[in-house]
Amino acid sequence: MSEVFAVWIAAILTLMVYSYLLADNPLYRLAQHLFVGSSVGYAVVVVVHNVLRPWLFAPLLEDATANWPYFLPLLLGLLLLTKARGSSAWLGNSSLAFLFGVGAALAIGGALLGSFLPQIQASWVSVLPGSAGGGPAAANNILLALGTIGTLSYFYFTMGVRKGPGSGFVRVSSTVGRWVLLITFGAIFGNRVMAYVSLLIERIYFLLGDWLGLVG
């Protein structure tokens, strides 16, 4: 009984969302507000039980003297709460500074280790048929290299703007980059459509199968 009831609730909510396709309407708005509300509540529950309790309160309550470093995040967290009021907001500056410091380092480290280095190394490909493993592979590698360099130079901000030694290169190369970017975007477009359609199919299976029982 309750299972049937639950499926009905889920199905009705799904249809309420789809009603937006006809026009923006109160049922749709109600569904979306419920969604936002429950997601906020859920996030709070998860954070309190999966982060604050095991990571902060448990170590401090168990043995505060041994786990004294955890007073630092506790202090910074409490200071951050002062940001709720404008007049005392400056108290929380240190907490934000902490986040920015860590964030900057993570951004740099992540970009270097995860994108920069591997991608540059990956672009070192052979363009001679002998070492690339055949003519077609070499041709592909040449395109790959040209495309990468072209895309990179499309983004020049200060170079190639004024006439100078490199401006001819930048102009030609960024034109190549523009074409490569467009082809890339076309390919990604196709991919994304596939993703969205898969989600739609999943929902259709839910509506037709779990709810109406039309398909197994």
């Binding site: 499926v7 609730i9 889920a10 909510l13 799904t14 969302v17 937006y20 109600l30 569904a31 979306q32 507000h33 419920l34 969604f35 509300g37 997601s39 509540g41 859920y42 709070v44 529950v45 954070v47 039980h49 630092l72 409490l78 951050l80 709720a84 500056n93 907490s95 500074a97 902490f98 920015f100 860590v102 900057a104 380092a105 740099i108 480290g109 970009a111 994108s115 920069f116 991608q119 540059i120 592909n140 790959l144 290299a145 495309g147 990468t148 895309t151 983004f155 074409w179 970017l181 467009l182 082809i183 890339t184 975007f185 076309g186 390919a187 990604i188 196709g190 991919n191 994304r192 989600l199």
Partner: protein
């Protein structure tokens, strides 16, 4: 006396945060380069602290959500009825979640309210994409032709229909994804990494200090 107070206040508002961001950022960065037990432990601790501080920020966020919507309800602003729905379900989830996120109430709400709403909202994209494809993919120039053609080839080449049309369709799709698309994405990724590193370096050097709201309200 007043001057001392001011110095302390400026210190708390500006110097301390700045020193903190620079010092912690640098230490954290060292963790990426040195595989040494103490540095690793420190880096790990900083990461944990970050997660904890962000958790406090979420409480701040909750406060903001409640303030905005309660104010709307009290002032009977447009859409206040929906705000009631929002606030009440948020509170219901939080109360139901007092025993923990695995409690029956939270699980039920998640499975039967939040999950279907999320999936349904997301799948609206399939419809949005259809209208965007109709409106947006028009051959208005040679370059646009490249965009449209690639999109069509990948669309068709990805699904079994493509093979039915001929072996060359999926092969062409694979070639597009493996050669030009890889090159383009690689170019974007390297460029974005450059920008990311430059931004991070500016923070570490103290050029950018978004964390110092240092205006003295007492003046």
């Amino acid at each position: 006396m007043r001057r001392i107070g001011r110095a302390v206040s400026v210190g708390l508002r500006r110097s301390l945060p700045m020193a903190m961001a620079m010092a912690i950022g640098s230490l954290m960065l060292l963790d990426f380069f040195f595989d040494e037990a103490h540095i690793n432990a420190l880096g790990g601790f900083f990461l944990e602290s970050t997660v904890i501080i962000v958790a406090f920020a979420l409480l701040l966020g909750l406060l903001n959500v409640l303030t905005v919507h309660l104010r709307r309800i009290i002032k009977r602003e447009g859409g206040w009825i929906y705000s009631i729905a929002l606030v009440s379900i948020a509170l219901i989830v939080i109360i139901a979640g007092i025993p923990g996120p695995e409690s029956a109430g939270v699980t039920w709400i998640f499975d039967h309210i939040q999950f279907p709403l999320q999936a349904a909202t997301f799948s609206l994209l399939a419809f949005f994409v259809a209208t965007a494809a109709y409106r947006g993919l028009r051959v208005r120039s040679l370059e646009a032709l490249a965009f449209v053609l690639t999109a069509v080839i990948v669309l068709i080449g990805q699904v079994p229909v493509g093979r039915y049309l001929g072996e060359f369709v999926p092969a062409l799709k694979d070639w597009i994804l493996n050669v030009p698309s890889t090159a383009g994405v690689r170019g974007i990724i390297i460029g974005v990494a450059l920008g990311t590193i430059a931004t991070g370096v500016r923070v570490l050097m103290g050029f950018d200090r978004p964390y110092t709201s240092e205006r003295d309200s007492t003046q």
